[in-house]
Every structure is written in structure tokens, then in C-alpha cells.
């Protein structure tokens, strides 16, 4: 943690994420017009940024600042739940598959390969269609497409760790595989998982935005950022503010998560640790 804070880039990421989390937590109180999550005011359509509406208004006359603030919650919810769900599937699979070289590990990794070979976005789109488009669907679809990355990461870590001397020593003491995997391999794989998770959050927000853009993400009138950019397309370049501010919000939050992940990677990577004397 200390090392992380000494890295200005990672620090910036950390601040961005914390800031976004705070905004999400207090969104309804921070937003100047919280009702603009759903209300429309046709007479104020597409007003450029002003004192009254710092980010301007959208095509239904809603305050973009309020919607960007309210959308933070969406973005973070999506990121966290997708990554958690993907971890829930991917981590156990990676552990089991990485522990031994047998038919089970072969099967699990083949399944992972299958999912990796499908372009995520297409799979998510298809799943989105399958389960009636909407935010929950998008989240389910993204979880279902992101878990292979966890499975791969944990698989590689488990394979690396199963050869570690301390695992061998535990086997020598007669520890059960479940015990070794859960109490020893998993915590040791944690840095890699954490890094993957942070980067995954950024990735998820971005993909969710693309899904929103393609119409299988959040449903209107949700103040979702990707949806906002999609809605703004027809109003470019005149109403530049309509697309710009939600786009910037996506950029900053994803940037935050990625910088944090990047910093964590440097801290967690034992190979690089030595160089940070």
C-alpha cells in the first residue's frame, strides 16, 4: 500500500476510483436535478453548457451533469458485480484445473478456450438478445464472457504455485489438496487476481458502454454513460456536450481502474519488486 502511494500514476488511479466511489455513494444528493434520471423537459432540449446546466442538456432536456453523476452508480455496480461474478466462476475453475494434469483440467481448460475463442462482444450481444436486453442481462453476459480471463490467470498461478516448495512442504505434512488450494494457493494468487480484477473493472465499464452503444446495455431512461453516448450520436457535432461529458466520465473511471491495476501490478509483481529498492 505504501509502495502504491509512492507511485504517482497509481496514486492518480486510486484517487479517481475513490472519487468515483464517493460520487456513486452520494449521487442523489450531489446531482443538481436528481429527478432528471427519468424526467424530461422538452423546452430545454439540447442546451449548451451554462451556469444552470454546467454540462448542458440532452435531447429530452435533462441535465447532463446530473445524469453523469447518477450514472456513476451504474458504472460501478456493473464493474463490481461483473468482476465478482466472473471471479466466482473463473477462480475455482482455474484452481481446480491448475492443480493437477488430468482429464478434468483438460476439460476445464478446453471449455475456457471455447469461451475465449468467441469474441466477447459478440457473445455478450447474443446473450443480451437471449435474455431481453437490459442492464442485468448485460452484466450477466459480461460475467459469462469475462470469467475465462480469471480462469486463465488463476490456472497459470496455480500451476506456478503447485511447484513451489512451500506447497511441496505442505503436501509433505499431509495437508489435503482443498486445504492447500484454499488457504495457500489462493492467497498467493491473490495479487494476480487483484490486478486482473482491477483491470477487469475498467474493461467491463468499457464493454458495458459499447453494449449500451449497441443497444443491449442499460435500458432508457437509465442515466447510463454508454447509453448517453449512443443517444448523442445523432446530435453530433452540434450538441458536442451531449456525447463529450459521458464519454469523459467513462474515460476517467476506466483510466482510474486501469492506472490502479497497473500500479498494483508493479507492486504485486515479485519480479519487479526487487527493482523498486
Amino acid at each position: 500500500m505504501k509502495r502504491l502511494l509512492r507511485d504517482p500514476v497509481a496514486c492518480l488511479g486510486f484517487l479517481l476510483v475513490v472519487f468515483a466511489a464517493l460520487v456513486a455513494a452520494f449521487a442523489p444528493w450531489l446531482a443538481p436535478y436528481p429527478d432528471d434520471a427519468f424526467d424530461s423537459h422538452l423546452l430545454q432540449r439540447l442546451k449548451p453548457p451554462s451556469a444552470e446546466f454546467p454540462f448542458g442538456t440532452d435531447y429530452l432536456g435533462r441535465d447532463i451533469l446530473s445524469r453523469v453523476i447518477l450514472g456513476t452508480r451504474n458504472a460501478i455496480t456493473v464493474a463490481v458485480s461483473v468482476v465478482l461474478a466472473a471471479m466466482l466462476i473463473g477462480v475455482p475453475m482455474g484452481l481446480v484445473a491448475g492443480w493437477r494434469d488430468n482429464w478434468l483440467s483438460d476439460v476445464l481448460m478446453r471449455v475456457t478456450d471455447v469461451f475465449l475463442a468467441v469474441p466477447q462482444l459478440i457473445l455478450a450481444l447474443a446473450l443480451g438478445q437471449l435474455m431481453a436486453p437490459g442492464l442485468t442481462t448485460a452484466m450477466a453476459a459480461l460475467s459469462l464472457t469475462y470469467w475465462p480471463f480469471f480462469a486463465r490467470t488463476v490456472y497459470a498461478e496455480t500451476r506456478r504455485l503447485r511447484g513451489a516448495l512451500f506447497v511441496d512442504a505442505l503436501a509433505g505434512l499431509g495437508a489435503s489438496p482443498a486445504r492447500i488450494l484454499l488457504l495457500h494457493v489462493l492467497p498467493n494468487a491473490a495479487p494476480a487476481i487483484l490486478v486482473r480484477a482491477t483491470i477487469g473493472m475498467g474493461f467491463t465499464i468499457l464493454t458495458a458502454a459499447i453494449l449500451g452503444f449497441l443497444g443491449v446495455g442499460a435500458a432508457p431512461p437509465s442515466p447510463d454513460w454508454g447509453l448517453a453516448v449512443a443517444e448523442a450520436r445523432q446530435h453530433l457535432p452540434e450538441s458536442w456536450w451531449f456525447a463529450t461529458f459521458p464519454g469523459l466520465a467513462i474515460l476517467l473511471l476506466v483510466l482510474g481502474f486501469n492506472l490502479l491495476g497497473d500500479g498494483l501490478r508493479d507492486v504485486a509483481d515479485p519480479r519487479l519488486r526487487r527493482s523498486r529498492k
Binding site: Y59, L60, Q129, A132, G134, E231
Partner: protein, 520 residues
């Protein structure tokens, strides 16, 4: 090394545009149909191919039906036997003469494939009842009288059996080949070489078209159709001069900008395409008329039409386009009146209508207007205590859902376009219970009185009688507030200013290249 030199040379060329002596071809930016086989598709984009590469017995010019391959027709008093006299000297693109046998083949093929364009004919016409009386006379004997028969006639492209014959596979009537090739007689010849479905279609002028070219001193020789996926890219490409036209659904917010551009303009034509919010009349609470009235009064027609769409549409209070015959005169549209809406809703609640539940409105995500309308409606309904949930969907998804009343959404938002100019296309197919299970009839409205009025109108061939019957049915439907009809479309097509002679037709928004020319 030689490759390197080539690369270098290419980079030098990079800056200099290639010299082109000939006039630039027309680049058409409208959506292409999924296939070039006009017996398989029938939708708005297909009209571009149908009108330019093929000919039918009749054709719409503006709102009028004019004889085309046919010189004239006769119909028996019972409305069952129709005879069409063909124009002599018509040639297909391969130079062979178009005869009655070819027309018969075309109808046989249409009915055998039994896809969308056959819908108007298959219930009333058996293939064996289409016959060639002589080389220039075709006879149709219908199973039952069908008023819109003539109005539907332009749907059917007459194709060249001699061009298709070598490519028939497994009894498919040459469907696979036809999907990407030309077998027509129209004013333009499709070039299969560069054709890629939904990506590119090139056409060249057919000098021997039967209508001749006397009407157009400077016809366009080469046409390249390049549909553009994204609206923003489409508009930008038009303004930058990469395209000569957009589709005919230019976003209203862009109209002013396109008109302001020195290079481009917007062609505005009142069309026949009704925008409506559908209600599933068979599902509670929409089985209650008060609920429907409540909803009808809660939609901000003026706000939507005048502010969001900038007045580039026409308020349309019923299912038929205002500008169509058969529409009852003096039909009073519903007004946006939240107080009245609340009254109706209260009454409905008192009658036990389950207005407390979340009501789902399905929108077509790729069509921005459906989403806007739903969002605006949602905000207003909230004020009368109704909770509307917007569900993004696709046309494919909704069409599938509307096959049964139980799976049909509470509400959905869409347009009903002109497939043929006849009230049958709107009120007839939308509110006659015999069409239940099609997306057009997805209100699941069922009223024996309307059914009988519409049946009579359908089976009559007397225009005046039909007009009365359709008007009567329409009045009942509007009185029952079956759906929420919002506007009739004004088609907005961005055009390069060098395009002259653009002609509009409400069926598929026209775009007959035959009439256009380019000024440089």
C-alpha cells in the same frame, strides 16, 4: 526491394487524388435490401431495387397508381377475374422480349417461394389460376374477391425466366442466384460483380428500357449504392460529398444543418407512414377502454411532433395516413390532457384495472425515435401514477413475440409503412382479427363489427363502397382508442444539390433513378 519502391511510389501518390475525367457516378447512401430477389423481400429498402431494376404491371408515381408493363386491365363484376393487357415491345436486360408467360412465371415463382411479397396474394390466388391468355394478356382468377388486388400489383416484379433457368438448384426457383443477380427489365441493370449484400450494389443504365429516355436529357449512367450503417457517419458523408443521398429518415435535428450546407439539401415529402404506440388490448389493463383513453391523453403529441421532431411530421389521429383515401373526414385526434388522462385512469382503477403494475413498452433500439417517444411518455405517465418500463428490443424479437397474445408486449412503438396504397394496408390489416398473430395486428383488437366492415371492404372492388366501409371501421377503432396514433411521417432525405429530379413515392419513399440527373 521492388516492393519497397512500390510502397514509396504509392506514398507519393497518397497526396494527389487520381484524375477522373468522367463525371462521378451517383453515390446512393440509402439502406440496401437484404437480397436482390424481389420475390423474397418486401420492405422499404427493397423498393430501390424493385423500382429501378424491375418493372411491375402497375407502378405508383407519387400517390397514383399508373399502368406500367400493363397497358390496361379489366375486372369481372364479381371481382374474381382480372385480365391485364401487356404493353408490346418490352425487353428484358438480356434483350429477350417480355411476354405474358414471363408474368405468369413471375407469379408462380412468387407464390411458390411464399415469402413476404406473396402475403397479399397467397390467401386469394392459386398459382394454377394465373394464366397467359395470349402473348400479351395475363388472366388472374381469384378464390374470392379482393379489393386491394390492383393496389398490390406494383409489389410483384416481373422476372426473366430465361435468365434464371440455368441457375436453378434443388428446385429453389433460382433463389440463391437471384439473391445477388439481375433478371429484370427495369431502367437500370444490376451489376452482380461488385454486389455485396448490404454493402455495395452498382447499377448501370439500361438504354433499351421500354419507357425510353426521352423524358430525361441527361440521365445518370452509373449508380453506386453504398449504404452507411451509422447515422452520424451517413450525414457527415453526405455533407463531405462522399455520398449523394442519405436514407429518407434523416434525424430531424440534422435537417437544418444539411440545408445550411452549400453542398446539400433535404427533400421533404409527406409520406404514408404512421407512427404509433401499440397497446395489447387483450392484456389487462389495456382490455379496459378507460386505460387506453388515459394513455392516449397522456402522450404529449405536440411536444413530440413540434419540439422533438421540429414540426417535420404531421399529426395523425388515426391508423390511416391523413392523406390516404378512405380516411374518415373530420376525425378528431386525441389531445394531450393530463387532467383528463388522470380521470380516465381513476375510473379504470375503480373498475379494477391493474394500473399499479409496471407496464412494459418495447422499443427498437436501433430506431432512436421509438426510444425518445417512450422516454417522454414515461415521464408523463409518471404524473398520472403509471409506471412505464422501457424494454429495448429488436424488430426481429418483437415480430416473434407478437405471434401470440400472451407473449405480445404490453406496448410497443413502431411505424406502419406503405406497402401498397390502400386502407387495407393500415386499418384493414391492423384491426381485423383475422390477422392476429402478425405484427401489424399486434393490438389483438377484436370487434365483430369492425371485422365485418373490413371483410366487406376487402372483398369489394367498388372504390366508393370500400371508402365508406374503411372510414366506418376507422371511426370505431379510433373511438375505442385501440392504439396511440401519433403522426404521419414526412420523409426527410438528405440529398447532394447536384442531384436533380428526385421523385418521391410513399411506397418505400421512391427514388426512381430513371427520373434523376446530375448537375456538376
Amino acid at each position: 526491394m521492388r516492393l519497397f519502391a512500390a510502397l514509396l511510389a504509392a506514398l507519393l501518390l497518397f497526396a494527389t487524388p487520381p484524375a477522373g475525367a468522367q463525371p462521378r457516378p451517383l453515390v446512393w447512401g440509402d439502406t440496401l435490401p437484404a437480397t436482390l430477389d424481389m420475390h423474397v423481400v418486401f420492405d422499404v429498402p427493397s423498393q430501390f431495387v424493385l423500382l429501378n431494376a424491375y418493372d411491375g404491371l402497375y407502378r405508383y408515381q407519387g400517390n397514383d397508381l399508373v399502368p406500367w408493363l400493363a397497358e390496361s386491365h379489366t375486372v369481372s363484376a364479381d371481382g374474381l377475374t382480372w385480365e391485364f393487357k401487356l404493353r408490346p415491345g418490352v425487353k428484358f436486360h438480356d434483350g429477350s422480349a417480355l411476354t405474358a408467360a414471363d408474368v405468369v412465371y413471375s407469379f408462380h415463382r412468387l407464390l411458390a417461394l411464399n415469402r413476404a411479397p406473396a402475403a397479399a396474394f397467397s390467401p386469394v390466388l392459386k398459382p394454377e389460376n394465373v394464366t397467359a391468355v395470349d402473348a400479351h394478356t395475363v388472366r388472374f382468377v381469384l378464390n374470392q374477391a379482393y379489393g386491394p388486388f390492383l393496389a398490390a400489383m406494383p409489389i410483384v416484379a416481373v422476372v426473366n425466366p430465361r435468365a434464371i433457368a440455368p441457375h436453378v438448384k434443388n428446385n429453389d426457383w433460382g433463389a440463391e442466384w437471384m439473391a445477388a443477380n439481375d433478371a429484370g427489365s427495369g431502367a437500370y441493370v444490376l451489376n452482380p460483380a461488385n454486389y455485396q449484400a448490404r454493402v455495395s450494389l452498382d447499377m448501370a443504365r439500361f438504354p433499351d428500357h421500354f419507357m425510353g429516355w426521352g423524358h430525361n436529357r441527361n440521365p445518370i449512367n452509373e449508380v453506386r449504392s453504398r449504404p452507411v450503417m451509422e447515422t452520424s457517419t451517413r450525414v457527415l458523408s453526405l455533407m463531405r460529398g462522399e455520398l449523394d443521398s442519405t436514407d429518407s429518415y434523416l434525424p430531424t435535428d440534422q435537417v437544418e444543418r444539411v440545408n445550411r450546407n452549400a453542398r446539400t439539401r433535404v427533400a421533404q415529402d409527406q409520406s404514408m407512414r404512421v407512427f404509433l404506440l401499440r397497446m395489447n388490448n387483450r392484456k389487462a389493463p389495456f382490455d379496459n377502454r378507460d386505460v387506453r383513453l388515459c394513455f392516449a391523453h397522456a402522450f404529449n403529441y405536440e411536444g413530440f411532433n413540434e419540439i422533438i421532431l421540429k414540426g417535420l411530421v404531421v399529426r395523425n389521429g388515426g391508423p390511416n395516413p391523413n392523406n390516404l383515401w378512405g380516411n374518415p373526414p373530420g376525425l378528431e385526434p386525441y389531445k394531450y390532457d393530463l387532467a383528463l388522462a388522470r380521470q380516465h385512469c381513476d375510473r379504470a382503477r375503480a373498475a379494477g384495472a391493474p394500473l399499479g403494475r409496471e407496464i412494459e413498452v418495447h422499443v427498437q433500439t436501433e430506431l432512436e425515435q421509438t426510444v425518445q417517444a417512450a422516454q417522454m411518455f414515461q415521464a408523463d405517465l409518471r404524473k398520472v401514477g403509471v409506471n412505464l418500463k422501457i424494454v429495448p428490443n429488436t424488430f426481429a424479437g418483437i415480430v416473434t413475440a407478437t405471434q401470440q397474445a400472451t407473449t405480445t408486449p404490453d406496448m410497443w412503438v413502431h411505424w406502419v409503412s406503405a406497402y401498397f396504397i390502400d386502407p387495407e394496408n393500415w386499418v384493414g390489416q391492423m384491426y381485423d382479427s383475422r390477422f392476429h398473430g402478425t405484427w401489424k395486428a399486434s393490438s389483438w383488437y377484436s370487434n365483430p363489427e369492425v371485422d365485418s366492415l373490413l371483410t366487406r371492404a376487402r372483398t369489394s372492388v367498388v372504390q366508393a363502397e370500400r371508402q365508406e366501409l374503411y372510414a366506418a371501421a376507422t371511426r370505431i377503432v379510433v373511438r375505442d382508442s385501440v392504439d396511440i396514433w401519433v403522426y404521419n411521417t414526412v420523409n426527410l432525405r438528405g440529398l447532394s444539390r447536384r442531384v436533380q429530379g428526385y421523385s418521391f413515392s410513399p411506397v418505400g419513399s421512391g427514388g426512381e433513378l430513371r427520373l434523376m440527373s446530375l448537375s456538376e
